[in-house]
Amino acid sequence: MHNNKKILPFIYLLPTGILLTIFMVIPIIYTFYLSFFDWNLIAPTKDFVGMRNYIEVFTDPVNQKVLMNTFFYIILLLVLNFIVPYVISLIVKFFIKRMQGAYKIIFFIPSLFSLVVGAMIFSWLLNPVSGPVAFLFRESGFVLPNWTNSGGLAIVVICLITNWKVFGYNFILLLTGLGSIPKNIVDATTIDRIPKWRMIWNIVLPMNKSIAIYVLILTIVQGLQYVFTPINVITTGGPYYGSSNVLYHTYLNAFVLYKTGNASALAITTFLIFLVLLYLEIRFVEGRSRYE
């Protein structure tokens, strides 16, 4: 009996454990190993090159450009996929009284769509010369900039496409978080005639901190992977790597140019960036030492 109790939890953890070992732990180690070699995925031999791949990650001008783009992506994703939905969820929660349910239902619909579909629709809608948006711009005397030629603008469009998809999901997450704030606290402030923005700033935001940070980090980690699809469908990283990010560039190196070593070094670098985010997640969301 006693024995049973000791072994049982591990039996329950076994399926997850096995899967994670085979498809996560070992691959990470193997990718780490590959990052020290020059290899093309098929050659029988791999050439050991020491730290060269890592040095290239930071010295090669294309890699530098891609890293900078990644940084730009993170900022934009934060604004579009975190701050905007947060503000909107606050409005829905505290400033309107009707139609809350309808907004929830409608905002969520795009998250049912594949990003391939989103990418196709938006690249057609936003075709810089002959799409409907360009047409409306022209009719009203503006010129839609040719975003396909400019890395920065292409990044903005790509982020808008992912925003279309994940906005509703993040909105719901944040809104539900707000819903768990005790109603009497909110009511009390209304009676005391404390302005709403003050109540939000001083009470709501701090109380909702852990879920907000969770969504914030998720925004970065998932967002960088989400943008992969529109990049692949619309710009393939162009013009001249202007809209590529570190994940897409890893893919390009691994499965287009077959520079497995460079790809692995890039992947490990990405992982290190994500680990910092993980640390923050543990710090703020999981709480300290849950099971001690």
Partner: protein, 272 residues
């Protein structure tokens, strides 16, 4: 005055609602246009001469039933796998004490932060070695567990007081009954909402399947869409939109049926 103010707040929400829905309307309307009309009347949301030619052409060109089945099969496999492994693991974390529990839990959660690119090359080689290229099983296999599920289930289970569990243990109530009679009913909303999201995400998955599935007969719906965005022969936008419209049917049905659960318990159950 208050009313006016209220209406003002609705304005940005309405705009967002329109931005959310307009592309959907646009997709459906273009799927009923001919190629020529899609180029000519870019602004009209209602086709001049609605035609079902795109749907009949699609039906003629690709095996829709096969595509839908592949996608459905893969998504079901992934969803069941993730729910099964997730529930088991969460149960272990909630109701048992064991060594390094905290560390193991954090390691599980950490997997959310592993970028796809770092496991891409080795996993590709493993699937190739297992001879599972061109099989949706090869797509599903590395995805049968997901720490998000564990996290949400665990946090829902935490709502069940530990003392209740302990007293049941003392009374020697079997695990099975605890699980079915107490844990599962409480978990039902989160299982449904998490399961629905797993399914929908897997249904729409694109990047990993493009690496594994090369054979047309093993394609899932998002991959079949690539057929219509080839630049060399010109992109047939209305056809692609017809396929997109077909693709959305299943996620939409799931959403409509489980909408209440999805909207209310994505995080309600999960995060405090």
């Amino acid at each position: 005055m208050n009313r006016k103010k209220n209406a003002l707040w609705h304005l940005p929400l309405m705009i967002i609602g329109i931005i959310a829905l307009l592309p959907v309307v646009f997709m459906i309307s273009n799927s009923f246009k001919t190629l020529q009309e899609s180029y000519q009347s870019i602004l009209s949301l209602i086709p001049n001469k609605p035609t079902t030619i795109n749907y009949t052409t699609l039906n003629h060109q690709v095996n829709l039933a096969r595509l839908a089945w592949n996608t459905f099969f893969m998504a079901t496999l992934v969803t069941l796998g993730k729910l099964f492994t997730g529930l088991l693991a969460a149960y272990a974390f909630r109701y048992y004490q064991f060594k390094h529990k905290n560390l193991i839990y954090l390691l599980f959660v950490a997997t959310i932060f592993v970028p796809f690119t770092i496991v891409m090359i080795p996993n590709y080689l493993v699937i190739a070695k297992l001879n599972l290229l061109n099989s949706v099983i090869g797509v599903a296999l590395p995805q049968l567990c997901d720490a998000t599920g564990i996290m949400i289930f665990l946090k829902t289970m935490e709502k069940i007081p530990g003392s209740l569990f302990d007293s049941l243990k003392i009374d020697d109530i079997p695990n099975r009954r605890i699980f079915f009679n107490i844990v599962l009913p409480i978990l039902k909303p989160s299982i449904i909402s998490v399961g629905a999201m797993f399914f929908i995400n897997s249904w729409n998955e694109y990047v990993w399947p493009t690496l594994i599935l090369k054979d047309k007969s093993s394609f899932t719906l998002p991959l079949a869409l690539q057929n219509y965005i080839s630049s060399e022969g010109g992109t047939n936008f209305p056809l692609a939109m017809a396929l997109s419209s077909i693709m959305i049917v299943v996620p939409l049905i799931i959403y409509l049926i489980f909408q209440r659960y999805i909207l209310n318990s994505i995080s309600n159950s999960g995060l405090k």
